[in-house]
């Protein structure tokens, strides 16, 4: 799932006609102060990182004058917010509001169709509202063949109990949000809060737009907005190698093929008393180069003490994987971390023959391979 930054989402929403506060992006303290002067006080200075709860973590501050703007910008730019470095802030006119609403569109996977949501309890974590008081959120399912009818937007807004004075405008925002979600292949589109001012204007004070990765091929404009080096270095490397990879806390590295089987391998490491260091799915039909890249990934993780390599070949051929493992390991004078391999399925017997047992430990079953790797990792830590 590709997440747009707040400033990017606001640009997309604003272009579609949803009112947003006057704002400017800034990368330095001076730029932020200049922006605040141009917009006029009070302003909100907001860290542009993709993480929830920015306000509580000190990533959003209000400023009433130049001195406060400078102080806020100095404290936010360069800060470390929940593990992410802040290198940009959005400086934005602070909205004087009387109400905070929530509007959102997402895919209800259980129903297999989109759902639009409205609540008068905006401005707070909507998942918490949903858990505590599900009735506080009005939901309207949409037939994807027709899109959202205007009456459905009105129905959601009235059902949620939105003030009649602004109901028509809020319904308009929801209709536009649905169209954007639909046009841009959104997985989630949200405005929280959608602020209502004393003179009855509605304005999007925050903006969330997450896009389906699988649909980025038809949205080159959005694909360009994707952050290159977001998050962990190893996760960035995985991106480059085109692996499904998630880094965890443990010391047993895991490489396998197929999401379900790799997850199962993680679970077995845990079951046999070890701690998984990562999820790494090399996918189907793994070529020698991918095998070698996968080993490189797991070896570069300092936390890893031993590796379990588990392949069940359907499309993937065991002999090819074995050659890849040999080639990758032959490059080292000394194998950086012990590797336990188990091959099953298509051409696995040939694969087992090919594997160089001077370089790897070979096991016949998944259970034995996992226990082997857990034991090798323990040897290293002792």
């Amino acid at each position: 799932m590709m997440k747009l930054h707040e400033y990017q989402a606001k640009e997309v929403f604003g272009d579609a006609g949803i009112p947003t506060p006057a704002s400017q992006l800034a990368e330095t303290v001076d730029e932020a102060v200049d922006a605040a002067e141009a917009i006029g006080y009070p302003v909100a200075i907001k860290a542009q990182v993709q993480v929830g709860g920015r306000g509580k973590a000190g990533g959003i501050k209000l400023a009433d004058d130049e001195a406060e703007a400078r102080e806020a910008a100095e404290s936010i730019i360069g800060m470390d917010l929940k593990g992410l470095h802040v290198d940009r802030v959005l400086v934005e006119a602070a909205v004087d509001f009387v109400d905070e609403l929530y509007v959102g569109v997402t895919m209800d996977r259980g129903e297999g169709r989109p759902v639009a949501m409205v609540s008068t309890r905006g401005g707070v974590n909507i998942e918490e509202v949903a858990a505590e008081d599900p009735d506080a959120i009005a939901r309207e399912h949409v037939d994807p063949a027709f899109g959202m009818h205007p009456y459905q937007a009105r129905k959601a807004v009235y059902d949620a109990g939105v003030d009649r004075e602004v109901a028509r405008d809020v319904a308009g925002v929801l209709s536009t949000l649905y169209e954007l979600w639909d046009d841009k292949d959104g997985s989630d589109a949200e405005i929280n809060p959608l602020m209502v001012t004393a003179d009855g204007e509605v304005i999007a004070a925050d903006a969330v737009m997450n896009v389906d990765d699988d649909a980025l091929f038809r949205h080159p404009d959005l694909a360009e907005m994707e952050d290159e080096a977001a998050g962990d270095d190893l996760e960035a490397k995985a991106n480059e190698y085109d692996f499904d990879y998630v880094r965890l806390e443990g010391n047993v590295g895991i490489i396998g093929n197929g999401a379900g089987l790799v997850m199962t391998t993680l679970d077995l490491v845990d079951y046999y008393g070890g701690e998984p260091a990562n999820f790494l799915d090399i996918g189907g039909g793994a070529q020698a180069e991918r095998v070698s890249n996968a080993l490189d990934m797991v070896f570069s993780d300092d936390n890893v003490d031993a590796v379990v390599f588990n392949i069940f070949g359907g499309i993937t051929r065991g002999d090819e994987v074995a050659r890849g493992i040999n080639e990758a390991l032959e490059q080292f004078d000394e194998i950086p971390k012990p590797v336990v391999v188990r091959l099953a399925g298509t051409n696995s017997e040939e694969g087992m023959e090919i594997l160089n047992t001077d370089l790897v430990q070979v096991e016949a079953t998944l259970e034995d391979a996992v226990q082997g790797a857990v034991a090798r990792a323990e040897e290293v830590t002792q």
Binding site: G112, R113, E127, V262, D270, G284, T346, E367
Partner: protein, 289 residues
């Protein structure tokens, strides 16, 4: 007997002229599957592995009596291919393609509900009735004919569990890989219903994983309607919240739904034993039969 496919299933392969389509058509034919046609726009009149190719699924179904379609079409065109198969119509569509945009599948799903067709997938390994036919990319050699029905969200995990079953001499009636996407056609409940009605499936293995609530729904369905003994397995016990574990559907949401534990609890509450390892699943099935 079996469910969904047997040696009488007449298969049209959509995307038969592509690399994967061609390779797996050969594999399916080797296994004994009755592949009667291919369908690729603009390639009508050609032959692949001795199978005649037509420009449309409609034409292939009419000329060759195809009643099932396997989709090997690239993601950008796969939803269109599913619509084409649904409208032909055929009785069964198996969509192998990985990476179809979710909103496209939402529209396919909407159309599917108006038809009597079974759609398996997308992003799945397919369906196999051992000894009779396979539709998809499953490695035929690990399966053996028998009386255990199997339904799973993951391909390679299916192979692992089947391997453990076959090792013990526990053959399979039919194995259905339903796929790991957020929106799929045949879900656990549909598959359980098919196996429950199949007199030759004496036990059922259900392999789920984190994400969504399909396993919980399946547990409710088992509690009410399924008399055939079921054994479960759930992958992703160690998955952290908010991270997508490979499959687009495999994500534990921040609010704690879709966890392995909630699925295991739901199944155990209706008397379904859940194995800690794939071997334990085979142990349980052996004890039941």
């Amino acid at each position: 007997m079996s469910v969904l496919v047997d040696d009488d299933t007449h298969v049209v392969v959509q995307g038969i002229t592509g690399g994967e389509g061609k390779f797996h058509t050969e594999q399916m034919l080797d296994y004994g599957t009755n592949v009667v046609a291919g369908a690729v726009p603009g390639k009508g009149g050609q032959e692949v592995a001795g199978v005649p190719v037509y420009d449309t699924v409609d034409r292939a179904a009419r000329e060759e009596d195809a009643d099932a379609a396997v989709v090997f079409v690239p993601p950008a065109f796969a939803a269109d291919a599913c619509f084409e198969a649904l409208d032909a119509p055929v009785d069964l569509v198996v969509a192998i393609t990985e990476g179809i945009p979710t909103q496209d599948m939402s529209r396919v799903y909407r159309r599917l509900r108006e038809t009597d067709t079974h759609l398996v997938g997308p992003n799945c390994p397919g369906v196999i009735t051992p000894g009779e036919a396979k539709l998809g990319i499953l490695p035929g050699n690990i399966f053996s004919s028998g009386n255990v029905g199997l339904v799973s969200r993951s391909g390679t995990l299916t192979y692992q569990v089947v391997d453990n079953l076959t090792d013990r001499g526990l053959g399979q009636s039919t194995a259905i890989g339903i796929g790991g996407d957020p929106i799929i056609g045949t879900d656990f409940v549909d598959a359980l219903e098919l196996f429950e009605d199949d007199p030759d499936s004496d036990a059922i293995v259900m392999c789920g994983e984190i994400g969504g609530e399909d396993e919980e729904e399946a547990a409710r369905f088992i509690g009410e309607y399924v008399d055939t003994p079921v054994v479960g397995f759930i992958a992703g016990r160690t998955a952290p919240p908010g991270k997508r574990m490979g499959h687009a559907g495999a994500i534990v949401s921040g609010s704690g739904t879709g966890t392995a534990q909630s699925k295991i609890d739901a199944l155990e509450n209706v008397g379904v034993p859940v194995g800690d390892t794939p071997v334990e699943v085979a142990d349980e099935i052996e004890a039941i039969l």
